[in-house]
């Protein structure tokens, strides 16, 4: 358990008595990234939301550094395990105010220097700071959401399709940024079908079908065997049918 930041045990979530995820167990070693893939409706987003208790599991447990997450106050837990949804939903306020939001919920403040550094980490110019979020593109809004999550300096980052709305160049930039963060202490669970992310930052993967883990393994090892072939094939199929990210503008 010492090197495990997140331990997920027999997780099950039912909705209307219908199981959305079942028997999900995995360990997330410290400073690594677990990739989660699977077809639409396989329970990937539900899994992420259950890890930081946006959804209460019907059964099973999640441990953060050996502590049952139910023993941690929920707002404190969500500052340690931050979830970034696929569909961004930002308040119609300037970019700066959005970045200040997470620390403000905890009664903290964030320095101007830190705000600028976060913005540059996600590839947004600091000139955007006074701009209203409504004027940002979908990809820019997602990157701002990422900066907002990082402002909390989480131990675990849960990302839902982080590159779904980014071009290949920005995907590479975000992959590099997450990779650098992982090397300096962050751990992550990323839902994605993006092979760039799989190859560049993923260490292990799980593949969900109908809420269960159908396949799992280490990405580098698997690359050499037949299982890996099947994984890439399935990822390619999922990528080509992946829906476009939805961006909602708040009124």
């Amino acid at each position: 358990m010492k090197d495990t930041v997140l331990h997920v045990e027999n997780l099950r979530v039912d909705y209307d008595d219908h199981p959305i995820i079942r028997d999900i167990s995995f360990d997330l070693p410290y400073m690594t990234c677990l990739m989660v893939a699977g077809p639409s409706g396989s329970g990937k987003s539900t899994l992420l939301k259950t890890i930081n208790r946006l959804i209460e599991p019907t059964d099973g447990s999640v441990y953060l550094r050996g502590d049952d997450v139910r023993q941690i106050s929920v707002p404190a837990l969500r500052a340690r395990i931050v979830y970034v949804p696929q569909s961004t939903a930002l308040g119609p306020v300037p970019v700066r105010e959005n970045i200040q939001l997470g620390p403000a919920f905890r009664g903290d403040s964030i320095t101007e220097e830190k705000i600028q550094s976060l913005l540059s980490d996600v590839g947004l110019p600091t000139a955007y700071l006074p701009r209203n979020t409504r004027t940002l593109s979908g990809g820019e809004q997602y990157r701002l959401s990422l900066a907002m999550a990082l402002s909390l300096e989480p131990e675990v980052l849960l990302l839902d399709e982080p590159t779904a709305h980014l071009d290949p160049e920005l995907t590479g930039h975000i992959a590099d940024m997450i990779s650098a963060r992982i090397q300096s202490g962050l751990s992550a669970v990323i839902v994605s079908h993006d092979m760039v992310l799989f190859r560049r930052i993923g260490r292990e993967f799980i593949f969900l079908v109908h809420g269960r883990i159908k396949r799992r393994g280490e990405i580098q090892d698997a690359e050499k065997d037949a299982d890996q072939e099947a994984l890439w094939r399935e990822l390619r199929a999922l990528s080509s049918s992946a829906p476009t990210m939805r961006v909602s503008y708040e009124q």
Binding site: L54, R78, A79, V82, F105, Q251
Partner: protein
């Protein structure tokens, strides 16, 4: 003080007043609005209701036992709670009881305050003062409950993704709902603010008119009106606060999670 006599309206005189309705009826008929029956039925119904209330109030006001006006007050509050549920766009089981609780709290506090500290009624439950004042405050509390809850629900329905995103950043359920709460609170407080802005300029409200026509001193009537406006503003704020608390606990768990199933059932 005004030395003019108090002009009583006899039943016959009231019937004469009914003649006035010939004009809106004729107007409705001329334009084929199809509401003549509703108009007449509304007028008759109002007459019956007010006659009963008048008789009932006459009896209540003549009694000296404190429990009678207090019981009457609670009956009025219960009826307001039930009405608040009926007028709700997104009603749910037992809302009437919770709405009654909110209306009771929102009404009683400013009402007792003005009776004891402003009017200095002795005893404070003097029916002639408490019942009509309670009626005015309560009616407004009920509207604030209906409006506040409607706006909160509509806001939640439109902006649940924003609320979820704020929760994901470590917001408590109250912090997460703040953008929706602000919209709902504004909506239910604006009517009384607007009324205070134009009172006496554009229209004379019921209380001032009532006191003056009953031969009261216009200065005193204005003071009573002001006092009731302040009480209504306070009651509206309390009702809005209470009803938003109700809405948050309906849609969110103590663990700062959205009750997705309840949201779907209530707002579909």
């Amino acid at each position: 003080m005004n030395s003019d006599p108090y002009y009583e309206i006899s039943a016959v005189s009231l019937a004469v007043g009914f003649i006035l309705l010939v004009i809106p009826s004729g107007f409705s008929k001329l334009l084929r609005l199809g509401i003549v029956k509703d108009l007449i039925w509304g007028a008759v119904r109002a007459a019956i209701q007010l006659m009963i209330v008048g008789a009932l109030l006459g009896w209540v006001l003549s009694r000296r036992e404190p429990y009678i006006p207090v019981a009457g007050l609670f009956l009025m509050l219960l009826s307001a709670g039930i009405n608040a549920q009926r007028r709700q766009k997104f009603p749910y089981p037992w809302l009437w009881l919770k709405a009654t609780g909110v209306i009771v709290t929102a009404t009683i506090l400013p009402l007792v305050f003005i009776l004891i500290f402003v009017v200095r009624a002795d005893p404070w439950y003097t029916p002639r003062l408490m019942i009509p004042l309670a009626g005015m405050v309560m009616g407004n509390s009920m509207s604030a409950v209906v409006l506040g809850l409607d706006r909160f629900y509509a806001g939640f329905k439109d902006r649940w993704a924003l609320i979820e995103a704020r929760l994901a950043l470590g917001a408590s359920r109250y912090q997460a709902c703040l953008p929706v709460v602000r919209g709902a609170a504004r909506a239910s407080l604006l009517p009384i603010i607007n009324t205070m802005m134009i009172i006496g300029i554009v229209h004379l409200p019921g209380m001032i008119v009532g006191q003056i026509t009953a031969g009261g001193d216009p200065n005193q009537a204005a003071r009573y009106q002001l006092m009731i406006m302040y009480a209504i503003a306070t009651a509206n704020a309390l009702a809005t606060f209470g009803v938003i608390f109700l809405g948050i606990s309906r849609f969110m768990t103590n663990h700062h999670q959205i009750r997705y199933e309840t949201v779907r059932e209530d707002l579909q």
